[in-house]
Symmetry: C2
Subunit: 376 residues, 2 copies
């Protein structure tokens, strides 16, 4: 069965919306944040822990799984759900972003047919095409697959952005034709760089092809926030109301709020787990680094009112000790907290849409997060 | 309250015995295996996971906690149980073994007063005495503390072993005098190297001082198995029936069986978690390395009849992928299985003592473990 988006409420003052995504693995509310399990594991966490922090859909990376262990092994295992023991919905990306980011400083060659680049593991020569990306994802048997696209760098010339955007549209068409998995849904990806007309053109043309949902790609690649928010606005204007909208690779709390207000339903980012590995924790008053000396004898949780396993059982002093001593249980505790922070944020955003007060929620959150709250 | 050992059954054909240890954190059956949480965490595992694999007492290292985060921070946290969120019994070692092993290739200076050596973290000069070791452990507030001893290397000359053994006895006396924590028990440690008369002398003199339990130290330091088993026999002959006996640092399955047959009640070892970090798993048919190519498409659990979380939910193929991709969830899954393997082994040994068939159990286990079982 394909996923189905059910729009339950449109906010009157913003473009934010509350809805449901029905999947083969249950129904989940949107807006939602999706943790990233690059290599068929959300770093340091078990599936049970992911559920305990309120994760709905999780994301895994086609490029990484293609290289290791290989899509055929996952197919033989019965698909990605069975392979990694996750019975919630899984979204896979197309590999396009990894070609862009991992091969950033390496030679890559983008042709009409596909992209030649080198493996980040052993330097071997690889060639990824729209058809291959879809074929791999069909085998992985994720619930939601992504069209193969080129992530346009920022800044890019208008000419380059136009050429690339048109090619991504042709790739989307090719991928759609190659697609063959009745239990999987396929999202189109809006590109267009920082250019309003290209973003709108990309969105319109992608929508014409008729996908199960629409992603906005090519943000969080170095552009300023205003440019990023504009990219979202340009695209969303052209997207249909009855399909989910997914802003790729965005996990900064304020960006999530700004995205929701602009009509985004789904977000993903490695940020919560990556921050954890470096000893950072989200708090309502901004990010903290647990390695800071001042937490050495701080026997309070990261956040007093947080309902996550970490905050219910462990002190900053202990987590600091684990991170300083390079014990992976520390990363695990911080990952649990950080993912919970973002899933709780989307819970609160959903409630604020229902309560018609998302702009008030935004102001209050940002004031506190940026440390401008006088009561703090 | 001090711990209390309750002897429930003496085997008739061997020295093995079934009993209970009553602690401030519950009652646990012996013989038992204790996982090691060096830095106030059993690597990659949560307290809940430790309980799920049947861990009773866990061990933590005084030397490591002294250096980082420091015993005063743990005291302020309310003791080690509260600091690390473990409400089961905890045993701390004395630091003597770490001085021996971590400073092996570094300059150390053993005097009557104590040991001068260098920190393995920053090379700073440290001085550990029997009194300081006990004082640190009193502050950590573990359930069972260890006397400060010198772990005699193997081989050692008779003269050196004698001198060292006598000094360890004087250190035990000094530590006992310094000891001051009514909720903590103190174990004496039998040394004596490979020499029968020194082992027996050490055991007799240690017992005369009257400890809450007795450890056998200085095994697993490079000696052959026969020598090791002899060291156990020499010591156990002199130990009282009404106190628990703890063979330090031993976790090889066959050594555990041989130890139990020789009258040992408690074992600890970093082996299950260390093996896990290198991709190794215990099985009834011997150790396997999950990185082996033959497990790439092996969609069966590590052991079909194992009741651990790992074997109930994950395949060798997936765990292999995680270990090859250097994902810590792989180490976690293997640690869970490996610790469960040893706690299950002690459960089976306890049952075989009750059933009067421990020698048959031993023969069967060893045959299969060494791959001599023709049915396998």
């Amino acid at each position: 069965m394909k996923i189905k988006y059910e729009l339950l409420k449109n906010d009157t003052k913003t473009k934010s919306r509350y809805g449901l995504i029905h999947t083969n693995y249950g129904t989940f509310e949107t807006p939602m944040f999706m943790p990233v399990g690059t290599q068929a594991t959300v770093k340091t966490l078990s599936p049970e822990e992911l559920k305990s922090v309120g994760s709905g859909v999780i994301l895994s990376n086609t490029y990484h799984l293609w290289l290791r262990p290989g899509e055929d092994i996952i197919l033989k295992a019965g698909g990605l759900h069975k392979f990694m023991n996750y019975d919630g919905p899984i979204l896979t990306d197309s590999g396009g972003f990894q070609v862009f980011s991992l091969a950033k400083n390496k030679k890559k060659d983008i042709t009409e047919e596909g992209v030649y680049f080198k493996s980040h593991i052993d330097g071997s020569k690889l060639f990824l095409t729209p058809e291959l990306s879809i074929k791999i994802q069909n085998k992985l048997d994720s619930d939601i697959a992504m069209s193969f696209d080129e992530c346009i760098p920022y800044p890019a010339s208008y000419e380059y952005a136009k050429k690339s955007t048109e090619r991504t549209l042709r790739w989307a068409e090719r991928g759609k034709k190659a697609f063959n998995n009745p239990n999987q849904s396929l999202f189109g990806i809006v590109q267009g760089g920082e250019y309003e007309d290209l973003r709108k053109y990309s969105a319109r043309e992608t929508v014409k092809m008729g996908f199960d949902g629409y992603s906005i790609g090519g943000t969080s690649v170095g552009e300023d926030k205003i440019t990023m928010y504009n990219m979202i606005d340009y695209a969303v204007e052209e997207l249909p109301l009855d399909k989910p909208r997914y802003l790729m690779g965005v996990g900064d709390p304020i960006d999530i709020i700004e995205g929701v207000i602009r009509g985004i339903d789904m977000f993903d980012c490695v940020l919560p787990t990556r921050l954890a590995r470096h000893g950072n924790a989200f708090t309502k008053c901004g990010k903290i680094n647990i390695k800071n000396f001042k937490y050495k004898e701080d026997f309070t949780p990261i956040e007093q009112d947080c309902d996550c396993y970490t905050c219910m059982h462990y002190t900053k002093s202990y987590i600091r000790h684990l991170i300083v001593a390079n014990e992976s249980f520390g990363q695990r505790l911080l990952s649990i907290h950080n993912i919970r922070f973002l899933t709780k944020l989307t819970e609160d955003l959903r409630q604020s849409i229902k309560d018609d007060n998302i702009l008030e929620y935004k102001d209050k959150f940002i004031k506190q997060y940026r440390g401008e709250d006088e009561n703090h």
